[in-house]
C-alpha cells in the first residue's frame, strides 16, 4: 500500500524533475515553429474554463466532508481561474488577453497554495458569502478590465511578454507547485487517490506557468504550455467522471438500505398513495389490499393525512398470520410524504399480556394469603380462648365443688382442643395441595366416584342417603388422588347438609357438553338444604361455614376449590336457594395435550 503510494509520488516527482530536460529537447526540435490561429486557442481556453467552473461546483459542495476544507480551497481556485479564463477566451489577443490569463493563473495558484493552511480553509468554508465574494471580485475585475483597458498593466511589449506577465505566471507556477507538494504529501499520508490526481493537476499547471516565461505569442513553447494545461483539464475531466461513478455507487448502496431492512417500511405521499415499499412490506400490502402506486385503505389514509397535517407521529397496527406489526408513521413535511416503519410487537404484546396475567394472579394469591392470615388469627384463637377461659372456670367449679359443671367444662375444653388440632391438620393439608402437584393421569371418573362413595359408606348409611353414580362418566386426565378428595368432600358435604329431607339423594355425574376450555363439567347434586344465592360465593372461602352448628372446620370446600384450581379448572355451586337442594360443579381436563396439568407439574418440595 505504502509502496504503491511511493511509486505514484515518484512518478510525480520524476515528472517535475524531467520537465526542464523535456522542455529543452522540445525547444531544440521545434524552436522555429509558429502557428498563429485564434480559433483552436479560444476553444482550448473555453473548454478549460468550463471544466474549471464545473469542477469548482463539485469541489465546493464537498466542503462539509471530513478534510473538505482542501476541496473548498481548490474549488475556490478553480472558480476564479475558470471565470478569468472564460474572459481570456473571448477577448482578442492583446494586453487584456494576456492579463486575464495571468490573473487566472495567479488566482488558481493561490487556491492550490492555500491548502497549506487548512485552518483558514475550515474557517472560510463555513462562511457562505466567501464564494460569492471571490466569484464577484473576479467577475468585477474582468468587467473593469474590459471597461477601462487603460488601467490594465502592460503585459506585452514588442511582441514579447512584459515583466509583469512573466512575474505573475512564474508566481503562479510556484504557488501551484507548493499546492501540488502539499497535496502529494496528503496523498502519501491518507492514500486518497483524488489527492494524487489534484497533485498531478497542480504540477501540470505549475509547469505551464514556468513554461510561460520563455514563450512568446503563437510560438512552440506557447503552444506547449497550453497543451500542458489541456492535460491538466483532461485529468479534471477524469476526476469528474470518477467522482460521478463514486457518488452513483454510494447512492445505489444507500438506496439498497431500506430494501435490505428485514422490517417492513413504506413511504406514502400526502394523499395516501404508496410510493415505496420494501420487500418485507409485501405481505403487509397484501393484507391492506393495495400495492405500490395504489392508495392506502381509509383508516391508514386518515392517519397518513393526519401525520402530514400535524407533523407528528401516527401509529397503526396490522394483524398478519397471528402476528402483530406496529407501524409508526413519521412525516417528512418538507418532502410531503410519510415514512411508515413497521416493527413486530407480537412478543412484546404477549409479554405484556403475560405480565398482566401474572400480576392479577399474584394479587389474587396475595389476597388469598391475607384472608388466610385473617382466618387463622380468628379461627385458631377461638378454641384457644375457649380452652383458657374454661380452664379458669374449671378452677372455680372445683372450688365450689360443682361436679356437674366441672364435667361439662372439661368436655368443652377437650372439644376445643380437638377442634384446634383438626384445624391445624387441615391447614397443613390445604397448604400441601398448593405446594405439591401430582402428575396428571388418565382414569375413568366412575372409578373415583365409586371409591369416594365406599370411603363414605359409614355416614351415607347412617343418614340413609341414596347415592347414585350416573352410568356415563368420562375418562378424565387429572390428579387422581386430588380428584378423589374433591368427590369425597362434595359427597360428604351433600350428606351433611341434607336438612330434614325425608328421601335424601345424591347424584354424581357429568354434563354432556364441555366448557369453553373443553374440560369435562362434573357435578355432585343433592336434594338437601340448598344455598341462598347470597352465600354461593362465600362458601368456598377458607373456614367459612354457613352453619356453625354443623361439625367440620369449614375447610372442605376451600380444599376442593384449591385442588380444582391448581389443575386449571373451576368450581362453582348452583342452587335455587334454601330448601331446593344444590349442585356443585367442577371441571377436569380430559386430554393429555390439554394444557395446564402437565405444565403445572412441579417437584415435590416437602413431606
Amino acid at each position: 500500500m505504502r509502496a504503491n503510494r511511493l511509486l505514484l509520488l515518484g512518478c510525480l516527482l520524476a515528472m517535475v524533475a524531467l520537465a526542464p530536460f523535456a522542455l529543452w529537447a522540445f525547444l531544440a526540435a521545434a524552436s522555429d515553429w509558429r502557428w498563429e490561429s485564434e480559433a483552436p486557442h479560444s476553444a482550448i481556453e473555453a473548454m478549460g474554463s468550463m471544466a474549471a467552473i464545473c469542477v469548482s461546483i463539485v469541489l465546493l459542495h464537498r466542503k462539509r466532508e471530513p478534510g473538505g476544507e482542501t476541496f473548498f480551497l481548490l474549488g475556490m481556485g478553480f472558480l476564479g481561474m475558470g471565470l478569468l479564463d472564460g474572459l481570456h477566451a473571448v477577448v482578442p489577443p492583446g494586453q487584456r488577453f494576456v492579463f486575464f490569463r495571468s490573473a487566472a493563473n495567479v488566482v488558481g495558484g493561490l487556491g492550490f497554495a492555500l491548502v497549506w493552511l487548512p485552518q483558514l480553509g475550515k474557517y472560510l468554508s463555513t462562511r457562505e458569502p466567501v464564494v460569492w465574494v471571490v466569484g464577484g471580485v473576479c467577475a468585477l475585475c474582468g468587467i473593469c478590465a474590459i471597461l477601462f483597458p487603460e488601467a490594465v498593466p502592460e503585459m506585452v511589449r514588442n511582441g514579447e511578454f512584459a515583466a509583469a506577465a512573466v512575474t505573475m505566471n512564474v508566481l503562479a507556477g510556484v504557488l501551484f507547485l507548493a499546492g501540488g507538494l502539499r497535496l502529494g504529501l496528503g496523498f502519501y499520508r491518507t492514500g486518497r487517490r483524488e489527492l494524487w490526481l489534484f497533485s498531478c493537476i497542480a504540477v501540470l499547471f505549475s509547469l505551464s506557468g514556468f513554461a510561460f516565461r520563455g514563450s512568446s505569442l503563437w510560438d512552440a513553447e506557447w503552444w506547449l504550455w497550453h497543451v500542458l494545461r489541456l492535460g491538466a483539464y483532461a485529468l479534471v475531466a477524469w476526476y469528474l467522471a470518477d467522482r460521478y461513478r463514486q457518488v452513483e455507487r454510494e447512492l445505489r448502496d444507500l438506496a439498497k438500505f431500506p430494501s435490505e431492512n428485514p422490517h417492513p417500511v413504506l413511504r406514502a405521499a400526502a394523499d395516501g398513495t404508496v410510493v415505496y415499499a420494501n420487500s418485507a412490506a409485501g405481505l403487509l400490502l397484501r393484507v391492506l389490499g393495495c400495492g405500490v402506486d395504489d392508495v392506502l385503505p381509509a383508516g391508514w389514509r386518515k392517519a397518513n393525512a393526519g401525520a402530514v397535517r400535524t407533523g407528528t407521529e401516527r401509529k397503526m397496527s396490522v394483524e398478519q398470520d397471528g402476528r402483530t406489526i406496529s407501524f409508526s408513521g413519521i412525516p417528512v413535511r418538507k418532502a410531503g410524504y410519510v415514512n411508515w416503519h413497521g416493527r413486530d410487537v407480537t412478543e412484546k404484546r404477549q409479554a405484556t399480556a403475560e405480565r398482566k396475567r401474572l400480576i392479577a394472579e399474584l394479587e389474587a394469591k396475595n389476597a388469598e394469603l391475607e384472608r388466610f392470615a385473617y382466618t387463622i388469627s380468628h379461627d385458631l384463637k377461638s378454641p384457644l380462648i375457649t380452652i383458657q377461659a374454661f380452664v379458669g372456670q374449671l378452677e372455680q367449679g372445683v372450688q365450689r365443688n360443682d361436679r356437674q359443671r366441672v364435667r361439662a367444662d372439661v368436655a368443652r375444653i377437650r372439644a376445643a382442643a380437638e377442634k384446634m388440632q383438626q384445624l391445624l391438620d387441615e391447614l397443613l393439608e390445604l397448604s400441601r395441595i398448593g405446594r405439591v402437584v401430582r402428575p396428571p393421569e388418565a382414569f375413568p371418573l366412575a372409578d373415583v366416584a365409586r371409591e369416594a362413595v365406599d370411603l363414605l359408606a359409614g355416614v351415607i348409611g347412617q343418614r340413609g342417603v341414596r347415592v347414585e353414580i350416573v352410568a356415563e362418566l368420562p375418562v378424565v386426565f387429572a390428579d387422581r388422588r386430588g380428584s378423589l378428595m374433591v368427590v369425597q368432600n362434595l359427597v360428604e358435604n351433600a350428606v351433611k347438609f341434607m336438612g330434614d329431607q325425608a328421601e335424601p339423594q345424591v347424584e354424581i355425574g357429568a354434563r354432556p357438553e364441555r366448557d369453553e376450555d373443553s374440560r369435562a363439567v362434573c357435578y355432585v347434586r343433592d336434594n338437601g338444604m340448598g344455598i341462598d344465592r347470597h352465600y354461593q360465593q362465600r362458601i368456598f372461602q377458607i373456614f367459612d361455614q354457613l352453619d356453625r352448628q354443623s361439625d367440620g372446620t369449614g375447610m372442605g370446600l376451600a380444599m376442593v376449590r384449591r385442588i380444582v384450581e391448581v389443575q386449571g379448572g373451576r368450581v362453582w355451586v348452583e342452587s335455587e336457594g334454601h330448601g331446593h337442594g344444590c349442585t356443585f360443579c367442577f371441571t377436569l381436563a380430559t386430554k393429555a395435550e390439554q394444557d395446564s396439568p402437565a405444565k403445572l407439574q412441579t417437584q415435590e418440595m416437602g413431606p
Partner: protein
C-alpha cells in the same frame, strides 16, 4: 340502676364463647335478660322483628348489643351497618366483641359507627375482668338516652 330489666343482645356464633360471656355477665348480675343469636341473619331478624322474632315480646329492644364480626350467613360488619342506618336502632350502643385484632376490622367497625371495639383476651383473668368492666361501664355508668324512646 333503674328498676327496668336490662336487655343485652349477644350475637355470637361460637357456643363456647357464648357460654363464657353469659356466665361472665350473669355472675355480676349485670343484666336481667340476655338474648342470644348465633348468626348475622338471626341478628337482623331479631332487631328488625322478622320471622320468628316478629312478636315484640320475643324481641325486646336491647340496651346493649354485643356483636361478633365473623358470623355465618351475614357478616358482623354488615349487621352493624344496618343497625346504624336504621332510625330506630342507631342509638343502641353496639360493642364489637371479637377475636380479630386486625386493623382492617377495627377501622371497618369504627367506620360503621361502632361504639366500642373489644378483642376477646386469651387470658382467663383478663377475660373475666373484661366482662366485669363491660357490664359496669355500659349498663351502670353509661347514661342511656334511648330507654324511653325505643321499644
Amino acid at each position: 340502676m333503674t328498676g327496668e330489666p336490662l336487655v343485652i343482645l349477644l350475637v355470637e356464633d361460637n357456643p363456647d364463647h357464648t357460654e363464657l360471656v353469659m356466665r361472665g355477665l350473669r355472675e355480676h348480675r349485670m343484666a336481667n335478660r340476655i338474648y342470644h343469636v348465633s348468626d348475622g341473619e338471626a341478628a337482623q331478624d331479631y332487631l328488625f322483628r322478622r320471622g320468628e322474632y316478629a312478636d315484640p315480646q320475643k324481641s325486646p329492644r336491647p340496651n346493649l348489643i354485643l356483636l361478633d364480626l365473623r358470623l355465618p350467613k351475614v357478616d358482623g360488619l354488615e349487621v352493624l351497618e344496618e343497625i346504624k342506618r336504621s332510625e330506630h336502632l342507631r342509638r343502641i350502643p353496639v360493642v364489637i366483641l371479637t377475636t380479630s385484632d386486625m386493623e382492617e376490622d377495627v377501622a371497618g367497625a369504627y367506620g360503621r359507627h361502632a361504639n366500642s371495639y373489644l378483642v376477646k383476651p386469651v387470658d382467663f383473668d383478663k377475660f373475666t375482668r373484661l366482662m366485669d368492666d363491660l357490664g359496669f361501664y355500659w349498663l351502670a355508668w353509661n347514661h342511656s338516652p334511648w330507654l324511653s324512646s325505643v321499644g
